[in-house]
């Protein structure tokens, strides 16, 4: 784990810092500022990137171009200071979780997304990208601390295409981290399940919905439903009551029993009035497939009877929860098989479809 810089790199870092501070710069800027060759510019940026002393992002103007921002000397000192507390060999062997345990309360954070969800549901194994919610002011410290030979850290999109063990995506938390985090028995922090559920409902992809259902099923008796930071209030505050209520109802509908207490669902429903123009889930992939289907069905004259029947069947799949959609005043395009599969996999006995 290399954090120390050779003299030539220090000189280049200082020169760039004097010129750009926290401002963004491009590859061309580095070549110009350092008066270096293309090869030397690549080497400089690579060496800084490997140490976590520069952040690489996609340019907002040109999708293909990369922009760089230096990590401040203070943030670098913070990370190197932490590293100096531990023997080099031990740090080399540390995995990401061990590093997070080590950082403890020195920086506020909470693991979120699929990895946090997996902690609660133990159902669908998450992908390799770790998402961590942090305070925006700590961004540089995190990049400098977490980056190592096995780990790359990104703000926003993960733009690394090389194979590496850990990809970390840092997310700015809209709420104070201390209010959303909880310590696991292993000693690292993850997002509380109630807040995580809101995050998953916000994302509303097929994966996030499956994860939300699995968390609810596996933890329904431990989840905090009522009170200030309870699920019902959080969902109301974020405008997610309809999707939450619908999802809970769908779970009960498929299981043919009140797995989720009816009074919880009634409480969510109580403050809702009229209809919303919301489509749930607003997952772009499902939405696009559904719209395409609807468009094709509009032009039935161009289709054979068999094709129409097939399209109708697929449309029915999307519209399997018509009654519940009516009840919650939203248009739902969540296929029943998605909900039923999670329930079945997690041991809920289902009636025949």
């Amino acid at each position: 784990m290399r954090k120390e810089m050779p003299e030539w790199l220090k000189k280049y870092y200082n020169k760039l810092w004097m010129r750009y501070k926290n401002q963004a710069f491009t590859f061309k800027d580095v070549t110009k500022e350092l008066g270096a060759s293309r090869v030397m510019t690549i080497k400089t940026l690579w060496e800084l990137e490997q140490r976590g002393f520069v952040n690489k992002e996609r340019s907002e103007i040109d999708y293909r171009a990369r922009i760089y921002r230096l990590i401040s000397p203070e943030d670098i000192s913070f990370a190197t200071g932490l590293y100096s507390l531990v023997e080099k060999e031990k740090f080399r062997k540390q995995g990401l979780i061990e590093k997070l345990v080590f950082i403890n309360n020195k920086l506020s954070y909470a693991i979120t997304g699929s990895h946090a969800a997996y902690y609660y549901h133990r159902y669908m194994t998450p992908a390799r990208v770790f998402e961590i919610k942090i305070e925006p002011k700590d961004e540089g410290k995190w990049i400098a601390f977490l980056t190592d030979e096995k780990t790359r850290v990104f703000i926003g999109d993960v733009i690394e295409t090389r194979k590496i063990n850990n990809y970390i995506k840092l997310l700015h938390s809209t709420k104070p981290i201390n209010s959303i985090k909880t310590k696991t028995k292993e000693g690292y922090y993850i997002e509380k399940p109630e807040f995580l559920l809101m995050e998953l409902l916000k994302r509303q992809t097929q994966t996030s919905i499956i994860e939300a259902i699995a968390i609810i099923l596996q933890n329904k008796d431990q989840l905090r439903w009522h009170g200030n930071n309870g699920i019902i209030t959080l969902a109301k505050g974020l405008g997610f009551s309809r999707r939450l209520g619908f999802l809970l109802d769908a779970i009960n509908f498929e299981s043919h029993k009140p797995l989720i207490e009816t009074k919880i669902i009634q409480k969510i429903k109580k403050h809702l009035r009229g209809k919303s123009d919301e489509i749930f889930p607003r997952d772009e992939i499902s939405l696009s497939r559904f719209r395409e289907l609807r468009n094709r069905l509009v032009h039935q004259a161009l289709l054979t009877r068999k094709e129409i029947e097939e399209l109708e069947r697929t449309k029915e799949r999307f519209e399997g929860y018509k009654v519940l959609s009516e009840k919650w005043g939203i248009q739902t395009i969540l296929p029943r098989d998605i909900v039923r599969k999670v329930l079945e996999d997690l041991g809920v006995r289902l009636e025949k479809n």
Partner: protein
């Protein structure tokens, strides 16, 4: 503090992979036709990237061997339950559990109710492949298993409506297209009367590439970018597949 025990999930992966290997070996000892499908098969065909993370084990077999399988389940401490599609079992490891599914004679898809009838040659064409662990802590662990041919795995993934399966199919086309026997692929689709369905699915992938939906799908399941070269390769390969329809 630094000497943390391995996470539960990585320990479950070790058990899951070792069980997979033992089942594979036992099946051989009992002369049972049993081959791997599902997430681990996808991992086998997407090596070295191995996008697919799973702990559950999915197999296929032929009906006449069903009774002998019970012993294998019991030996490995899995529950044994007959279902509409075959048998399933489950094994608890602390908070985690490993689900074991064995489909008999055919694979039924929940999302479309379509069936894929196992072709006669599926067991003879199966490949012995090393499956590597995905957790960093288990990086030295790999087990050998008999995996269904890529053509069949790809059909199983393309026949469904689930986006996760579509991601798996795209990953396999990108990583193992050279292994794919296109003639066998279409012949097997036809045998299950899935050829039109699969053709439409492949065409919808081409449309999804244009609309940028494949990029989104890729990001949802890998958290990473779907780069231009991958897009071009995927398009070329799907077109090649469609040409052989």
């Amino acid at each position: 503090m630094l000497d943390l025990k391995r996470t539960e999930a990585s320990k479950t992966e070790v058990v899951s992979l070792k069980d997979l290997e033992r089942i594979d070996q036992k099946a051989k000892n009992f002369q049972i036709n049993l081959i791997l499908i599902g997430g681990y098969a996808v991992r086998a065909y997407t090596y070295p990237r191995s996008w697919r993370f799973t702990k559950d084990v999915d197999f296929i077999t032929t009906r006449r061997k069903l009774a002998a399988l019970r012993g294998v389940f019991e030996l490995l401490e899995y529950s044994f339950e007959k279902t509409d599609f075959g048998v399933k079992g489950s094994k608890k490891i602390n908070l985690e559990s490993i689900e074991l599914h064995i489909s008999v004679d055919k694979v039924i898809d929940w999302s479309t109710n379509l069936e894929y009838i196992l072709p006669e040659d599926i067991f003879t064409k199966a490949n012995k492949i090393n499956i590597k662990a995905s957790f960093e802590e288990n990086k030295d662990l790999k087990v050998g298993a008999t995996v269904a041919p890529i053509e069949d795995i790809l059909i199983m993934k393309l026949m469904t409506e689930r986006t996760r399966d579509h991601f798996d199919a795209i990953a396999m086309i990108l990583d193992s297209f050279k292994r794919l026997n296109m003639k066998r692929f279409w012949a097997n689709c036809k045998q299950s009367n899935l050829n039109q369905h699969i053709r439409k699915r492949l065409n919808s992938f081409l449309a999804d590439i244009k609309k940028g939906l494949v990029k989104k799908l890729w990001k949802e399941f890998t958290g990473r970018e779907f780069i231009r070269e991958q897009e071009i390769t995927l398009k070329e390969r799907i077109n090649k597949l469609l040409e052989r329809f």
